[in-house]
């Protein structure tokens, strides 16, 4: 494993408090509403303390994989990638432009460290299942696969194919973090986590703004089962 230490200079230059400024370079706005930043704390805790990824090792077979399934509103994601040295902060200013690699939905072929192209909802979890299977088949039992989805994104049936299969197959290296801003039109009866639990997943539901709670939920052992963390944030509406 070559990715256990945060040795790149860039990763020490930025703190969580710098992310809003990085986002402003994309949007031109000083402040961002809850929708634009719903993923911000989760992304920061993952990239700062959990994921074993590094800009100099984006092709390392042993790296953890972070799949942003909910590709909408990726400013927070790009801000974190810039803060962690995957992309130059200057690129943020071109956000959405013809020659910019940073679109309103990410494209993995344009941005180092972006594991999947997303935007159409419900593709990340099935891709994550295949990634977890592929790593296991090659004897890479250590890398973790993380998929970020939204509670409204779970409306897409493809997620439920993946959730049911991953639970049945006991894909221990697969992790999902659900940003729950209560935006699913019909809600989730019994809570989001119950749908994962019923499929055999380990689950935790925490305050999506509480970094200590997120870290604890992200690092909770879950032997033999995939793990879902529901990060509850302010309602979208």
């Amino acid at each position: 494993m070559t990715l256990t230490t945060a040795d790149a200079d860039t990763r020490t230059l930025y703190t969580f408090d710098d992310l809003a400024g990085l986002m402003s370079r994309m949007t031109g706005a000083d402040k961002h509403g809850p929708a634009a930043s719903s993923t911000l704390d989760v992304l920061w805790v993952l990239y700062d303390r959990v994921l074993r990824v590094a800009p100099e090792a984006v092709d390392d077979a042993a790296r953890d994989r972070f799949l942003l399934s909910k590709g909408h509103g990726p400013m927070a994601y790009y801000a974190v990638l810039a803060a962690k040295g995957f992309i130059a902060p200057e690129l943020l200013e071109g956000f959405g432009g013809y020659d910019s690699p940073l679109g309103h939905h990410p494209d993995r072929t344009l941005v180092p460290g972006v594991e999947i192209g997303s935007g159409s909802l419900g593709h990340g979890l099935p891709l994550g299942v295949g990634t977890a299977l592929g790593l296991r088949a090659q004897g890479l039992l250590d890398p973790a696969v993380w998929v970020l989805v939204g509670d409204a994104e779970l409306d897409e049936g493809s997620n439920h194919e993946a959730i049911a299969y991953a639970g049945a197959a006991g894909l221990e290296r697969l992790h999902t973090v659900v940003i729950d801003n209560q935006s699913a039109t019909h809600g989730w009866h019994g809570g989001v986590a119950s749908h994962f639990a019923a499929a055999g997943w380990s689950t935790a539901t925490v305050d999506g703004r509480d970094h200590a709670a997120l870290f604890e939920a992200f690092t909770t052992p879950h032997p033999g089962r995939p793990h879902a963390v529901v990060a509850v944030v302010e309602p979208k509406n």
Binding site: P126, A132, L133, L135, E161, A162
Partner: protein, 309 residues
């Protein structure tokens, strides 16, 4: 002639893919219950590289994309209607858009199980893939060709669709992946491109006509050079394409090959209209006008007088 001998192309796929799992540690097979029992032995030998996701076709393709992202060469398989049509957005986004390769192997084709009705027919599969960049499409006409093309697909890196059917030709041809094969040379008459399992019926249909027959066991990329070569020294360019899926699917490719040449094209294949009949494969082949007698009538009526013998 169309036969359904004991060993089908689908049987050959199962045995070939099982062998490839032994030979190539990069290979993985992804299933959605269909043909899963055929892979029981391979799954026991390679439990991590034979994955059956259950009756979940969006996941079938999504997981295939994920496997490819880790560097494996996945082969996904089910009936064409559930492999290409049902999860088409996954084919578009989880494979091509991610910049990864995969092999999709279908069974049942357009009319293999007519008693099963419309739900198990996929006459539009090749046309759908034609809307996406980069797909190679193999349509073998015999189990031996299927094995050759499957092995070629497994060894490649790109996006490959292998369309297997019960309809088949009596004999395998010495095909080269990616190339049309000249199986009959006529002088002056039409050039007939027979795709995969329709070859025997096409050859019977043009008996006594002055036609050249090109055999396409790979139909994408479309072998422009072979078509242009076959038309060389002809006064007129008349091209017939006979395909075991939606009629006219390859017509734009003929047009593209011949942009600088006045030409006529006749695209024969499965009709767009639903038949709403059950019955047998032979009855459906005839209903689509793809049996030898119908083909002969349609081609000879369409061709110029000098082509007819």
């Amino acid at each position: 002639m169309t036969t359904t001998a004991a060993a089908t192309m689908r049987d050959r796929f199962i045995s070939t893919a099982s062998d490839l799992l032994e030979e190539d540690p990069r290979l993985a097979v992804v299933l959605a219950d269909i043909s899963a029992s055929g892979f029981d032995a391979a799954a026991a030998a390679h439990p991590d590289r034979v994955v059956n996701v259950g009756i979940r076709e969006q996941l079938l393709i999504g997981a295939t994309g994920g496997l490819a992202l880790t560097g494996l060469r996945p082969i996904a398989h089910t009936f064409g209607s559930f492999l290409v049509e049902r999860p088409f957005e996954q084919v578009k986004l989880d494979l091509g858009h991610q910049g990864v390769g995969a092999v999709l192997v279908s069974a049942l084709g357009s009319y293999d199980w007519p008693a099963g009705g419309r739900t198990h027919m996929s006459p539009g599969d090749v046309a759908l893939l034609d809307t996406l960049p980069g797909w190679t499409v193999h349509v073998p006409g015999h189990p031996d060709e299927a094995e050759l093309l499957l092995r070629d697909a497994a060894a490649a890196d790109g996006l490959v669709y292998v369309r297997l059917s019960l309809q088949r030709n009596a004999e395998a041809r010495p095909v080269t992946p990616g190339r049309f094969l000249t199986v009959r040379e006529g002088r002056g008459g039409p050039v007939v491109i027979a795709v995969g399992p329709v070859l025997d019926d096409v050859l019977a249909a043009v008996e006594g006509l002055n036609a050249t027959v090109l055999y396409a066991s790979t139909v994408r990329p479309f072998d422009f050079a072979a078509l242009r070569g076959a038309l060389r020294d002809r006064a007129s360019a008349e091209v017939v394409v006979v395909e075991p899926y939606l009629a006219g699917t390859s017509t734009p490719f003929v047009t593209e090959a011949l942009t600088d040449l006045p030409h006529r094209v006749l695209g024969l294949g499965v009709s767009r209209q639903e038949l709403r009949h059950y019955g047998t494969m032979q009855e459906h082949i005839a209903a689509h006008g793809l049996d030898a007698r119908s083909l002969r009538a349609r081609i000879s009526t369409w061709a110029s007088p000098q082509s007819r013998s």
